[in-house]
Amino acid sequence: MDSRGEEFLAYVQGGGQVEAGDWMPDEYRQKLVKFVEMHGNSELMGVLPEREWILKAPTLQRKLALTAKVQDEVGHAQLIYRVVEDLGKPRERCLADLVSGTSKFHNVFHYPTRTWGDVGVIAWLVDAAAIISQKALLKCSYAPYARIMKKICWEESFHILHGRDVVLAMMTGTDAQRELVQEALIRWWPPLMQFHGNPIPRDEDPMYVWRIKSQGNEEARQQFLEGYVPQIRELGLEIPDPNLRRRDDGTWEYTEPDWDELRSVVTGHGPRSQERLDFRRRFLEQERWVRDAVLAA
């Protein structure tokens, strides 16, 4: 790295933030685009597992809440792709790379949503895991991204509450309803434990080195476990990991997540990866006339 690059690195590591027009090393820009684009992709793909349940939601209130949540997440994708566009990659290319499988989206959105129990667990726990990552982006060295994160985190807090409310309604219902939540938790626990990524030391993680995110993967996972294991257990739910335990020093021990599965899933080999990409591809084509009409206006 040249001296200008080193100066930039020292600046961001000291808590400094940069704006769109500021000079930045190519490596930083590339890492940033990759990271932010994957976030945008995840927001956009993240609505698909829930979208399937808008028509099947048990009450009108739940239908409305789910629709609002889907709108929020698509709104986040729009905000995030704007940030990527200002960094030099147009939205059309982001969408093209998404549907061609060139770019990635989060592992949790490659799985099926089997029952209403899954909807509750996704909205509560997947969003809880996501908000931990997103809160760590409020201090991102790239200021335009950090700024939109405020709105995103604010809206995510509704989603968690909505999810917790769905789960609580079922846990205070019949045995069959409680069973649905327990089964969903069993399905979602392994992807949830993979969600924050492998426990690479933060100083070896380029995204931390450049202060794109402000905490390491394992710190995020520990924060998730510390915050949510007690909330899950107090409902009488059983977490499917016999090795899960809190040490006296406050660190959580757990069974090593399957990192090969994570790699395979995020590279498009998850149970619903292709189906969801097909869906996105189809809609991109089907809605082309809307974009054409707007651009022609």
């Binding site: 905000l79 704007r82 700024r147 939109i148 709105k151 707007v294």
Partner: protein
């Protein structure tokens, strides 16, 4: 298409803060979109949409004339105060 920078005011009387940007073919489209994106929960008291091209950014901040005398950090009185107190014999031990 035009990029509009969005500034929102959370409560009346507060400063407008930059909140993000939207891209739209015209101001009417930008208006509709901004209401939806930044106001659908009543979280904004007011919104400003400014075409990015209309923003003039002052780029050079070089302090050629050493303007520190306009700021508090331009004044270091500690040692002089000590000397003055010593001369007046009012220094506390």
């Amino acid at each position: 298409m035009t990029v509009f920078e969005v500034f929102r005011q959370e409560r009346k009387g507060q400063a407008f803060q930059h909140a993000g940007s939207i891209v739209a073919p015209d101001a009417a489209f930008a208006d509709t979109w901004a209401r939806e994106q930044y106001g659908r929960r009543g979280e904004s008291a007011a919104l400003w949409l400014v075409p990015r091209d209309a923003i003039h950014e002052v780029s050079e901040w070089a302090d050629e004339f050493d303007l520190k005398y306009r700021r508090v950090d331009g004044y270091s009185i500690k040692s002089r105060l000590k000397e003055a107190r010593d001369r007046a014999g009012t220094a506390t031990a």
